[in-house]
Symmetry: C2
Subunit: 353 residues, 2 copies
Amino acid sequence: MTSLRHLAELAGVSEMSVSRALRDVPGVSAETRARIKALAEEYHFRPDLRARGQLSGNSRILGCILPSITYGFYARMLNGVLRQAVQDDYRVITFQTYSDPQETLAAIYHLIDQRVDALLLNSVHPEPLSRKVMAAMRSHHMALVSLDATPTALPVDEVRLDEEHLAESAVEYLYELGHRRIGFLGVDRMLGRKLRLAALQRSFQHRGLTTDYFTEPTATSLEAFHVPSAGFKALLGRCASAFLGIMQSPVPPTALIVSSEPIIVHIHQTALRHGITIPQQLSLLGYVDFDLACILTPAVTTVGLQPEEIGRQAVIQAITRREARAKGEELPPVLIKVPGTIAVRESCGPAPK
Amino acid sequence: MTSLRHLAELAGVSEMSVSRALRDVPGVSAETRARIKALAEEYHFRPDLRARGQLSGNSRILGCILPSITYGFYARMLNGVLRQAVQDDYRVITFQTYSDPQETLAAIYHLIDQRVDALLLNSVHPEPLSRKVMAAMRSHHMALVSLDATPTALPVDEVRLDEEHLAESAVEYLYELGHRRIGFLGVDRMLGRKLRLAALQRSFQHRGLTTDYFTEPTATSLEAFHVPSAGFKALLGRCASAFLGIMQSPVPPTALIVSSEPIIVHIHQTALRHGITIPQQLSLLGYVDFDLACILTPAVTTVGLQPEEIGRQAVIQAITRREARAKGEELPPVLIKVPGTIAVRESCGPAPK
DNA sequence: CACCCTTGTGCCATTCCAAAT
DNA sequence: TATTTGGAATGGCACAAGGGT
């Protein structure tokens, strides 16, 4: 209700004077300024960022589209986004898409309509972001950063894990512990799966390790990625079966790399239930870091990256890109690979003889 | 870049006609409309919601302030908020405060400056929201909903757990299973702790049960609520000690109610490590629902509410309040108690003889 | 010539009212 | 008279000029 105009009338000066007084820019006498400030305080005046944004051309809002914020990995990614955004004085509008391309599209248009300065996009579905939407975003000067290997029709700034480094760290760590039969348990529908698999295979092969213990249960539908769903439970069941299958083979692996939070937890618990001791009998290595890793007993060693870092870097890149464009500079798309670090806990040990 | 004005020039008509054509309101010839729509499509025109909002007085944005979005409970709450908001065509700006009153205040002013229609506030710190901020919000027609017992200087709409119902469900469930010595493990700094404790005590007392097995380890600082922090680990250690202390008493409880996600997981794992069998020797009842409850082995029975429901109800109430105010109606503050339901899994069984 | 302050203009879309066909 | 179309004012703010002392 209280606007510049209103305040100006109360103070008996023009809107401009009020504006200047409150922004602490010169051009108002100290006395007038004090009077205006007192009035602003009294009437709880706050400048309208929307109006300001219309003039400046920036809303100082970022859009962030994620598959699901209750999934630990994405929650932490969003955490990184939020922290960095606050630090740089940006607000964040978040959307969940549940991996639905329709939802993604709707969310993007909502964000365009709000004139957000940039969009951080993490969409799990394999359909790349269409040229048309990208053109729409571009024509509204919206920067786009692809998170975690989200496919796009045209090249854009991208922040993702350093899969090569991740694979090397993981395999090297287990190799040094003496492991020669190492398994990998992933999910076939995972985004960035090809990248990850290729990196792992390379790391295995140049050490002469077999990839026979790789297994990827099928996620029958995207529903399988909602943690409390029936499809998810079925997926877990399939993972447990695959796991037990490998462990009951004549020459079972001595170490296993597992790539997704809830699956790690489930395998961890399944192993314990079936009397497979960790790490004596089997070294379990989480291929992503997660909060509960240190709470489980034995605590799970991970080579995960901090997902926060992806979010943080993405915000920085988005802002950089946006500001460069405002100056008319157009640099080629950037690929930022976030390295992972090993968090040694209790679930990996030397290979049994 | 492409605005109504721009489009109007291109089409050789007035801004008005463009506005009407695109909103599908009558007053434009079919031919003109088609021409304008084609142009809008071609130039990726999208109306600016900020400008629209200035006129209508609503931004169709909600603010949501939470302690931490990586904490499962709040993540799920935000999930509920986001789902309901999307359904009602609202966007959500989220802030994390890490329970810091300063951050909360800053976030609120940011949200006022964005002219969000309503604020959903969940702040863990015990200092109530000051009258001054509340007045500022009010003077900007911003609705406020307090989530989960967040204290405020003046009464406002509030959505929180139905602690009385929750306590009754939990105690009744265990009582029916034959348990007479039931423990409770909480954290002393928790918000809404008084409410919860009182409700539990009442449920215990009218069944003649002792509350001797209640214990509340101290969270030395708010840092203890960040899951991966050192303070948090120390808190976990204190919980485990308290737990083992109770279990080693001459007459240990046969059932234990535990009230926070990571602590439940830790107690679950600690019990297993110390050879305390669940549910044979000890029935473990989670006092909050969480995603991993079904993944742990044995799976954890919970009486938790779905935190999503708090978020969902809060959005509905916020919008209701906002719309009522727009009509000049001012109803007294509402208290919505969200009931919890028992999710029976494997961690509770009949009391041992 | 400083300094204070006001006027006019623009951003983007909408509502209400007037004018053309 | 009905239908289409245009103008002016609105909302909230800020920037570029210009009028006063």
